[in-house]
Symmetry: C2
Subunit: 209 residues, 2 copies
């Protein structure tokens, strides 16, 4: 489970503010998550998420002190780009990034909870579909939804997916899932905090692509 | 037709060598071609092609004199990366880029030649499918082919596509197609020369993605 445990998210402070630098460092390891899905088709998603991270990083690097927390970034951009905000800059990049993070969270949670298709216990289709429906579907037009359904066929077997998460090491499924559960604690708290921030700042949009 | 005529390819010299700098400049305007297709779905293709161009540009910039022609690049990389070549560096990027260029060429040629579905004269599906089959299909596994078929539904009407090529100006279809024909002269010669070079250097691969 190295991929996840080597790159743990840290515990949030009581005010639930997310430190930009720590967040960017933790999240920079996640795009390789999509390599675990196997097919080159998913490299498209990997580069979309990579693009989000690069955009936020570029803003942060312009003035690390000013952009110390993710909320600092949103507030500064709201000020600087009143007309277009929130469909602009790192605010937009993080809006989409958090949906990809939520997708990963729900997928892993569903696996950790043992949700499965009893007729096909080694398929993750049911878990991937749940994650997609809750995190992304409503932001996708019918064409992208249709493409998702096609791409689903390329989803790996559960055993191979868990093995890839463990960087190819032979780990017992139960040990792997225990690691997933541990990873999910701080990870879920961070994703939740970002969603809450978008709600509080009224920064969420629901246009479809 | 500004998009094409503003960014003409230049005539090749008699030895058909392709000047790297001139090529990169001409080709840098092509990714916006995919904006003419309308749907955001095609931005995925745009970034794939953009990635190819950036990779070739990065190699060129390391030593413009050494990499004066595209053939110089392939030969230098064959020397430097004997084991992996041609699946490496700018050689790989150009291998894929030329397929995207060929796709555009065949699509435009087919429109210029007046090929159409008599029952749906304002659809470009028949032209796009021809371009796909000749330029790309054999390098795509069945999943990507399936996704292509889904994406095809997002192809624009011919009239809107030609208008977008003319940067939104109202141009008569015949004038627009005359411009396409003019653009295609040097463009096709350049793409042909690159294909010939890959054949001559034995640099072509046919793995699928
Ligand atoms: C030759 C044939 C070719 C045919 C072409 C077909 C191409 C098909 C493309 C399908 C879509 C691929 C997924 C990418 C979708 C993206 O369009 C969306 C929005 O992307 C956002 O858009 C914003 C502007 O609106 C900004 O540019 C953001 O960029 S910014 O940083 O500049 O602000 C950008 O992330 N991201 C998303 O929906 C996020 C996706 C996360 C995915 C999570 C996992 C799903 C896993 C599924 C597993 C089964
Ligand atoms: C949430 C749901 C999400 C589900 C996810 C679904 C995602 C679906 C993705 C579909 C594929 C999109 C097209 C991209 C395909 C690319 O995979 C291929 C190979 O791409 C090459 O790969 C190499 C390594 O093998 C290097 O990395 C090259 O990169 S390197 O520079 O690093 O060397 C790279 O270009 N390029 C291609 O096939 C080229 C495509 C040109 C397209 C031309 C026009 C087609 C127009 C069609 C109009 C109807």
């Amino acid at each position: 489970m190295s991929l996840l445990l080597d790159n743990q998210f840290t515990e949030l402070p009581p005010d639930k503010s997310v430190d930009t630098k720590i967040f960017l460092e933790a999240v920079s390891h996640l795009p390789s998550f999509f390599d675990c899905l196997g097919s080159t088709v998913f490299s498209v998603i990997k580069s979309d998420i990579n693009g989000n991270i690069m955009k936020i990083t570029a803003v942060y690097n312009k003035d690390p002190a000013k952009y110390a927390t993710l909320q600092d970034i949103l507030e500064a951009e709201r000020e600087a780009h009143a007309a277009e905000w929130p469909k602009v800059g790192a605010t937009l990049a993080l809006m989409w990034l958090k949906r990809g993070l939520r997708f990963i969270q729900i997928l892993l949670q569903s696996l950790a909870d043992g949700e499965r298709d009893e007729n096909n216990p080694n398929l993750i289709k049911v878990n991937v579909t749940k994650a997609y429906e809750q995190a992304l579907k409503k932001y996708h037009g019918w064409l992208v939804q249709k493409i998702f359904n096609a791409a689903l066929i390329a989803a790996p077997y559960k055993s191979n997916f868990l093995k890839a998460l463990s960087k190819g090491e032979e780990v017992k499924e139960e040990d792997c899932l225990a690691n997933v559960r541990q990873f999910l604690v701080n990870y879920t708290a961070t994703v939740d905090a970002i969603y809450e921030m978008y709600t509080n700042l009224n920064a969420e949009l629901d246009y479809t692509v």
